[in-house]
Symmetry: C2
Amino acid sequence: MEVTTQNIASKENINTWISQIHTEFKLAMSVDCVIFGYTEADLYVALIPCNMPPYEGDLSLVGDLLHANEDLDQAVDRILWERIGLRNVYCEQVQVFSQLGRHPLGRVVTVAYYSLIKVEDYKKVAPADCPLVWKKVDEVGSLAFDHNEVFGLCLEKLRRQLREHPVGFSLLPKKFTLNQLQQLYEVILNMSFDKRNFRRKLKAMDAIRDVGEVERDVRHRPAKLYSFDLERFEASGKNSFV
Amino acid sequence: MEVTTQNIASKENINTWISQIHTEFKLAMSVDCVIFGYTEADLYVALIPCNMPPYEGDLSLVGDLLHANEDLDQAVDRILWERIGLRNVYCEQVQVFSQLGRHPLGRVVTVAYYSLIKVEDYKKVAPADCPLVWKKVDEVGSLAFDHNEVFGLCLEKLRRQLREHPVGFSLLPKKFTLNQLQQLYEVILNMSFDKRNFRRKLKAMDAIRDVGEVERDVRHRPAKLYSFDLERFEASGKNSFV
DNA sequence: TCAAAAGTGTTAATGATACACCCATGT
DNA sequence: ACATGGGTGTATCATTAACACTTTTGA
């Protein structure tokens, strides 16, 4: 930290604020969603062809401008509804990108969010004319704008959150087997876990509850079903999943 | 996650974007800085009296509008220079607050940052007419706008970062004693550590280097001086301080 | 010689990792 | 009966937490 002589701002008053807010500013905000799509085999990200010079032909994240009558969280919900056809999707704000010149058409400050959906849920409601492209997260090529940076940060944050918070359960049925849960962690984190250690740790977390049922119609020993128990997890004060 | 029928957005094209960016939007962005001031005894936060109805008389965080020719990081640097008289201050972006109606004068979306300075550095350059008020972080009362929420999140993030990243060294002289370092962790995290365990852990991190000197002019056994060694720390791949 | 803070090791408890076999079901 | 995935326990190692005395300097 450098210490130098002072340079005090001229004091603003209400009138300068009002005039600045209403006249000086012509700035747009957008939201860019890193929509992660989960399957039991892989983690994907939703991309769309970009039609804006100079990025025509590249893929970009799914985004839109913030409207005047909504806050950012509402904008994310709207975008997911309009583009993906899903509501009540798990979302997290990640970071703001405000670099001058990041958008070719003018001053657009964007806020990155990630969200988590099941690809199968999307498939049920996917529009025929929808240009969405799903790429495996480790096969994302060069994206439009600064979207590679945005994507990278969101993937990092997703993985950090998954390790420390009960984030993944929105991707499983209400009742799930422990193997489904482990598979989810393995796919998203791109690593593998020892089955016994994974189970021991998970049970010690007080986050899941045996619902007393088992799988049906499998041609092997049926697995017990569990459900996520948010109350018990929060009461236990434990943290950090794996 | 709820799956329902689709509601596809009408496709936008470049022209709609351009017109939206340039006409629909009249939105201001601001930066609110949670400026943490460190002394060897306490952690403070810098506040200023608010002169904006309906919050006249309350204290608020130090903030300003984002100017047209700067990005957010630059705005933070400018604010710290104008208000505090310091440059090259450690800063981290924390979160965006975009709730409708959060600002009484219009649509202002704010981005929260925290920054770390030494109170003594500020005192050297503090302007006589400057209305800055330093409050201990656990004695912050009710603040203007949504600034209590902003402050709380920034304090949380500071503490998380301090535990996991080499953040605190900007608050110490280039050469410091291990007790100074421990005191810093204790003050910011508001907890105490065992001296031997703290040292063992810190040395195991490969983050500090004995510079072969000792304190002068103390009326007790002089402590060895250490310096932070960023290169060695990054090379070691270790993480998580305490 | 006294006051004041610096410095240093060991033990116990806890948590993490590695590892292999039997079980229940459908076909 | 066999193929398939489900389910379980123990031993080792690494990490963390608790704890008290001697050392060096200035006054």
